[in-house]
Amino acid sequence: MKAEEWTNWYPAPHPQVAWRMIDGEALLVLADAGEVAVLNGVGSRIWQLADGSRSIDDIITVIVAEYDTTADEAGRDVVNFIEQLVKEHILVLSERTAPQRAEKSS
């Protein structure tokens, strides 16, 4: 799929992933793989936004508003990041919105 074709899709956490927000950073546990990952600041923000209720386009819009970046740059980075998480079975994509998730933040 080309990058521009992704942007109307809705990313959401894979059902096998558990996560927790700690001081603004996302800690992920991949139950299938038995792996643990910590996302950096912007990655954690994208993770928070990828709750199934927003399209990738929506997420890019938020990132452009919140960070010192251009729409092109943010679009490329967000799509690459989400593509990577989809490949690693951390996010799933759907064509419509999913019920909002509720995991713990601290």
Binding site: V17, A18, R20, V29, A31, K104
Partner: protein, 292 residues
């Protein structure tokens, strides 16, 4: 408690205040269990799980192949399944009982590791891959995967009581975090299996190096390193979430540092506060009445 059945006995083992009963045939196998877990035998308490252990000649469940030790576990609802080379069993946490079938070459050790990982998780604690030692009344927990130096750190702590060089049970309390010795060992089998518990002074994530140094870890990385050292129970998202919640309470209470160390005992100068409190809390004390 040792209670006679028809040719069978109940051997109660207690780790971290959690009693489990093994019902076994009264023979040399039962004697081996009593001897191996001597410091962890419990009396007069109601077991949270009773496991019927049967030794079956020729039983083998997985082929023995070179590589990492194979332990397969699965949880469905409140039922845990366990399988390794010469052991296969299940536990129903709702009903409080289970069964373990073993070949002659089998042991109960790995089954107990898996079972206790689940039991302590339900009770607000974690069984973690770590070396643990008690020094001046305080426990020091050294986290790390295989090859990170857990056994080395335990061996270099000659003036300390070794909780384990492989696994330690940690549970939160009202005032902090407590570490409990377990009878499970890694590459330091000769270390006494001491049934000892103590308040935890700190968690240390092991890094091998050319010198000694301490580096405080941000909370999210501290929790990530702790959770990465929790075996057996992270196979389902619900249990992972529970482990993370418990882990977050633990790292909230404790300093967590990356400890880079070389192979000498000098690392203690960096981590010991030097004002250890009163002695060790032995679980063989009067509370369970087994002091001999």
């Amino acid at each position: 408690m040792i209670r006679s059945f028809v040719g069978r006995s109940e051997i109660q083992i207690e780790l971290g205040d959690i009693p489990v009963s093994l019902v076994v045939e009264e023979n040399s196998f039962a004697q081996r269990i009593r001897s191996h877990y001597a410091d962890f035998l419990a009396h007069r308490r109601t077991a949270v799980i009773t496991v019927d252990v049967r030794v079956v000649e020729g039983a083998q469940f997985l082929p023995v192949t070179p590589g990492a030790w194979q332990i397969r576990t699965a949880v469905r609802g409140r039922r845990l399944r366990f399988e390794s080379y010469f052991e296969s069993g299940w536990v129903d946490f709702e009903e409080g009982h289970g069964e373990l079938i073993m070949g002659v070459r089998g042991t109960v050790e790995n089954f107990l590791r898996v079972l206790y990982a689940h039991l302590v998780l339900e009770r607000g604690g974690l069984l973690v891959h770590a070396a643990g030692v008690v020094r001046n009344g305080l426990a020091y927990v050294f986290l790390g995967p295989s090859g990170s130096g857990k056994t080395t750190v335990a061996r270099l702590s000659s003036d300390a009581i070794v909780l384990s060089d492989d696994m330690v049970m940690v549970r939160t309390t009202k005032n902090g975090v407590r570490a409990y010795g377990v009878p499970f060992r890694g590459d330091f089998p000769e270390a006494p299996r001491s049934n000892v518990a103590a308040e935890v002074a700190g968690l240390f994530c092991l890094r091998k190096g050319d010198d000694h140094s301490l580096q405080p870890l941000p909370k999210v990385h501290a929790l990530a390193e702790l959770i990465a050292c929790v075996p057996f129970v992270m196979t389902a998202p619900a249990m992972s979430r529970r482990a993370m919640a418990i882990g977050e309470r633990i790292v909230h209470h404790l300093p967590v540092n990356a400890l880079t160390f070389r192979r000498d005992a000098g690392f203690w100068q960096f981590i010991a506060p030097g004002d250890g409190r009163s002695g060790v809390d032995s679980h063989r004390r009067e509370t369970h009445g087994t002091r001999r």
